[in-house]
């Protein structure tokens, strides 16, 4: 690890000021990706601005139309929250499947989506549920937020405050884990609302999280696992590595999608 300055502001304004104060200042949320990266000397920020002391960033609120999860809410808090379990049970289940207990006790939703790891779980939920990312300067639809592998629409000095999820969809998440890393090799979040079906896929796409349009169309016409039988995800858009070919990952996406649909249908 290289040396860096560390700040732990108590308010958002102070945090934003710190972020603008120097070159290459980074936000520290849960640190579950950033700190290992620093330990391996793969990044050299001048300073870290830790958001952990800003209480309003950790709130979880359940309104009539939205579930709002503060950017610093830990995965374990989301997994255990009765509010989340009532509003969007599939989201609570997803949070409980991230990493391991140590990761869930430190990792945050804001950190996860800001990093936009192509194998992270939350981006699939954001896309499938039509979430809105609320930042220090604006509101960004999930559709526009995730722009590529480890890339988002966030500006350098922009901080995620919360993620707003519309409630009322029937939803399920099914994940096939990479045997080594336990990250998603294929994570499929299916959400159905008023005849509209969204299928968001993480872990498999060469460009990160994406919506599987053919599956959405098929399920909108017939919401059953069998509706996906004839579909094949084009392997040319799917990641391949030592853990599985593109064809295999495409198959896993289909199986996970069918299992998510079956879970909703039951």
């Amino acid at each position: 690890m290289y040396a860096f300055d560390y700040q732990r502001p108590a308010g958002l304004d102070e945090a934003l000021a710190a972020l603008r104060a120097g070159e290459d200042v980074k936000v520290l949320a849960g640190g579950q990706t950033l700190l290992p990266t620093l330990k391996q000397r793969l990044a050299q920020p001048s300073a870290l601005v830790d958001l952990a002391a800003i209480p309003e960033l950790s709130r979880i609120e359940h309104g009539p139309y939205f579930l709002t999860i503060g950017a610093m809410a830990r995965h374990a808090e989301v997994a255990a929250s009765p509010m989340v379990a009532e509003a969007i049970p599939a989201l609570a289940e997803l949070a409980g499947l991230i990493g391991d207990p140590a990761v869930r006790n430190r990792g945050t939703i804001g950190g996860s989506i800001a990093n936009n790891d192509p194998t992270a779980d939350y981006p699939a939920a954001c896309l499938a549920l039509g979430a809105t990312v609320v930042t220090s300067t604006r509101r960004i639809a999930a559709e526009d937020f995730f722009t590529g592998l480890f890339e988002t629409a966030l500006a350098e000095d922009e901080v995620i405050l919360a993620v707003e999820f519309p409630v009322g969809a029937r939803a399920a998440y099914r994940k096939f884990r990479n045997p080594a890393s336990r990250y998603a090799m294929a994570g499929v979040f299916v959400a159905a609302r008023d005849g509209e079906v969204r299928v968001a896929v993480t872990g498999a796409g060469q460009g990160g999280v994406f919506r599987w349009n053919d599956a959405e169309a098929a399920l909108s016409a017939d919401f059953s696992p069998a509706a996906l039988d004839g579909l094949t995800l084009d392997p040319s858009d799917v990641m391949a590595d030592l853990h599985g070919s593109a064809e295999y990952r495409a198959q896993l996406v289909k199986v996970m999608a069918k299992r998510a649909v079956a879970a909703i249908a039951s």
Binding site: Y2, Q40, P179, A180, S181, L242, H243, S245, Q251
Partner: protein, 796 residues
């Protein structure tokens, strides 16, 4: 028996599941590992490693790096050579078929002219802090001439392959053979059926929980070194560093292996980093500390397995095995590690008879260099490779001739003992049918077809696989291993020191790094002397305390290490009887020792053990002209034979053809370990061994690319077994007491890792209906095979 029912203030009988004494300190963070130690004034070493698998070093410019803040010294292979420090050695001589000695390429602790694998040691930076050392290492300019790499075992002997060591043509360290070629060919000539198989035994990274670490410290006052290190055999490390590497005379080198967190073989060897820390401490005049990080461990800890094998089994018309022919190519990596040469030879081919009466066996082994990390012993070492081959080909043969595979095995079992195999070993005792019968019963083998049909209705492919393994443990008779090329004898030592107040210290040459010796060894002493287990302390791992020892590997510490303790206890008892006789005014022949008391037989006159101990030191009541004062006895025990643990493991599993995922439904392990001192610890060894064996079969595999870059360099890509990958094990035991040592022990440390891989693959081949399933059988691999099978069946 309930483990909680034992009280450490009581005498602990043999066979009782006594809780591990050492665990209190481990689970409360009070263990003391090498990295926990801090020596006054210590510096930190960081190794600059080769980023290339094969390159000539044209120059190393350290000037800019040496001027950086916090740098104490930067040392290279030239400095090492200037101090007369010689290369690392391989301590087991193997001769090729043509009689020529193995070609051991020079193995310097710091490379001088050439690097031969990614991670090879180029320079060491010694800094005030680790960060300072790392910063400076990044500023060292190495001028590499990158050479083509021979990273692939299958092609490393080919004519056009890159040449790794000048003195090893075709990258071949040796071409060795064992067995009777003519007799084996004759058996094949009259065979009614021949089964052939081609297997790859996948390369594994050992992954002990505690990575390697070392602190070297030089005392300029008495010109001596101390090396704290994560070693399974500190005395052997001292011997090698002294006699071969030339670091210091043995009497000027103390090696201490304190608490060590797992080894699995990988901490037997004498590596570059530990050697350099000790040597450099004199150069810089301060202690030098190094702790391996996990990435370095993947690169540089000796790996295990990595064989390519072709096997042929000859059967007569009645399904009796009459011959076995094997050709194996074994990967040695870039250098011959400390015991690398014995692993694919005498620890492998000698086990090719398995549990079966096979009249003729012939095995050829080529040991081949590649531009990869050195390969050496890893849990089981050669014996898992042998068992995987034997149990796969036996299973395939049974299926080919249409016999039930359990029945086929039973008809070919060795049933009378001692049994001389055609591959050196003489099995002293065993009861293979008993283990098989018990395992078949515990697994409800008879009703498997119904379970398979039920799984098929759920869309799952269910399979069952047997593995009747055998291993040679308790290594080993010194003269025997010497005749096979070992550089050292494989006896063990013990010293029992009885204190005046009657408690006891036992100094052992065995080393505990997870095996629970502090409990098992103390349990033996407690039971023998009739004193509470709390009154026994086990001392190990320090060459200044224990005079000499051979260390712990090859499941030898029960059979050999405890036998040495037992022999020393015999001497203690004999001397104590003499003293008791004087005090009790009886003749020595009338003294009986039982339940911690010396009694004049037929009377109620008796003395407790502690009273005799006190008298031994007070020395008032016996003639010291006849009996020396004190009560301390030592013993060296050299076994008369290897021991032969054996058993039957049965794995039942289901494959999900949609995802290729394997779920192990049931695991039955029936083992014959001979006499057992502590069944709880033995079961723990079985559990851990099975987990590592399942890891090899389903999950683990070290992979290099064609350029010799390590692709599986972290837990992001190297899959370790997790609790969730395993069922609760059904562990049963059968017992044939080992006649080759005084305690009847065979050893248990490696059995699970040896038995498990073929059990899993036999179950998978049964489930999927094809014999061709590689390890690790990952979900992606199995999905592809399952799709192929489904397509094939549809076409039929």
């Amino acid at each position: 028996m309930n483990a909680n029912s034992f009280d450490s203030s009581k005498v602990t009988p043999l066979g009782a599941p006594v809780r591990r004494k050492e665990d209190r300190r481990f689970i409360t963070g009070k263990g003391r590992y090498t990295d926990d130690l801090a020596r006054p004034g210590q510096t930190h070493a960081y190794f600059l490693r080769s980023p290339y698998a094969h390159a000539r070093i044209r120059g190393i410019d350290t000037a800019a790096a040496a001027a950086m803040p916090g740098v104490v010294a930067i040392l290279t292979g030239h400095d090492l050579a200037a101090d007369g420090i010689r290369g690392l050695i391989c301590g087991w001589m193997i001769h090729s078929k043509d009689g020529s000695p193995m070609k051991a390429g020079y193995h310097p602790a710091l490379a001088k002219d050439k690097v031969r694998y990614v991670g090879d040691h180029v320079a060491v930076v010694i800094g005030e802090t680790l960060n300072a050392a790392k910063d400076a290492a990044a500023a060292i300019a190495v001028d590499y001439e990158v050479l083509p790499a021979a990273a692939d075992l299958g092609s490393a002997q080919a004519a056009g392959a890159a040449h790794i060591h000048d003195d090893a043509p075709r990258n071949t360290a040796f071409e060795w053979e064992l067995g009777d070629k003519t007799a084996t060919e004759a058996a094949f000539a009259r065979a009614a059926h021949v089964t052939t198989i081609d297997l790859v035994n996948n390369r594994l990274a050992p992954n002990p929980m505690e990575p390697r670490a070392a602190i070297g410290e030089y005392d300029a006052g008495d010109e001596s070194y101390t090396l704290w290190t994560t070693s399974q055999n500190p005395h052997v490390a001292r011997l090698v560093l002294s006699a071969f590497v030339g670091l210091a005379p043995e009497n000027k080198l103390r090696v201490i292996a304190p608490d060590v967190g797992g080894g699995f073989g990988s901490k037997i060897f004498i590596y570059a980093e530990e050697t350099v820390c000790a040597w450099a401490s004199k150069r810089v005049g301060r202690p030098v500390k190094w702790t391996c990080d996990r990435s370095e461990a993947f690169l540089c800890d000796a790996h295990g397995r990595d064989h390519i094998t072709h096997g042929e089994l000859a059967l007569d018309g009645q399904g009796k095995i009459i011959g076995f022919r094997v050709k194996t190519t074994a990967n040695m990596g870039a250098y011959l590690s400390t015991f690398a040469s014995c692993v694919p030879t005498y620890l492998y081919a000698t086990l090719l008879s398995g549990q079966y009466d096979i009249p003729a066996i012939y095995c050829e082994v080529d040991a081949v260099y590649t531009n990869t990390a050195p390969v050496d012993a890893y849990r089981g070492a050669g014996r898992p490779e042998a068992t995987f081959l034997v149990e796969r080909i036996v299973e395939k043969a049974a299926r080919e001739i249409g016999q039930d595979s359990a029945e086929f095995r039973r008809r070919n079992f060795i049933t009378s003992f001692p049994h001389q195999t055609p591959v050196i070993l003489s099995y002293d005792i065993g009861g293979y049918a008993a283990s098989l019968d018990k395992a078949l019963e515990l697994s409800d083998y008879a009703n498997f077809p119904a379970r398979k049909a039920e799984a098929a209705r759920r869309g799952k492919l269910r399979g069952i696989g047997l593995s009747n393994y055998i291993e040679a443990c308790g290594i080993a008779p010194s003269a025997a291993v010497g005749s096979l090329g070992a550089g050292v004898g494989l006896w063990e030592s013990a010293e029992v020191r009885v204190n005046p107040t009657g408690n006891v210290e036992v100094l052992t040459g065995s080393h505990s790094h997870g095996q629970g010796h502090e409990t098992t060894f103390a349990q033996l002493v407690s039971a023998r002397l009739g004193i509470p287990i709390d009154h026994v302390t086990i001392v190990h791992g320090d060459t200044d305390k224990v005079q000499f020892g051979m260390g712990t590997y090859g499941s030898r510490s029960g059979a050999v290490g405890m036998s040495a303790i037992s022999k020393a206890l015999d001497k203690v008892e004999a001397k104590a009887k003499k003293i008791a006789a004087h005090i009790l005014e009886a003749s020595e022949g009338d003294i009986e020792f039982k339940d911690g008391h010396f009694t004049v037989s037929g009377t109620d006159r008796s003395l407790a053990f502690a009273a005799v101990a006190l008298n031994a030191y007070v020395a008032h009541k016996f003639p010291t002209s006849e009996i020396e004062p004190g009560l301390k006895e030592g013993a060296f025990y050299d076994p008369v034979n290897f021991t032969f643990p054996a058993g039957c493991h049965i794995c039942e599993l289901e494959v999900d053809p949609e995802t290729g995922t394997t779920e192990i439904i049931k695991w039955v392990a029936v083992d014959d370990f001979g006499a057992i001192i502590n069944p709880m610890i033995v079961e723990g060894q079985v559990h851990g061994g099975i987990a590592q064996g399942v890891g090899q079969a389903l999950l683990e595999g070290v992979r290099y690319d064609a350029e010799g870059q390590l692709l599986t360099g972290s837990y992001m890509d190297y899959t370790m077994p997790r609790a969730g990958d395993l069922p609760s094990f059904v562990v049963g035991m059968t017992e044939t007491r080992c006649p080759s040592n005084p305690l009847g022990i065979k050893g248990c440390g490696e059995a699970g890792a040896i038995a498990a891989p073929p059990a899993v693959i036999n179950a998978l081949t049964d489930a999927l209906g094809t014999e061709d399933i590689p390890m690790p059988a990952t979900p992606a691999t199995l999905w592809k095979i399952a799709q192929g099978q489904i397509a094939r069946r549809a076409a039929e």
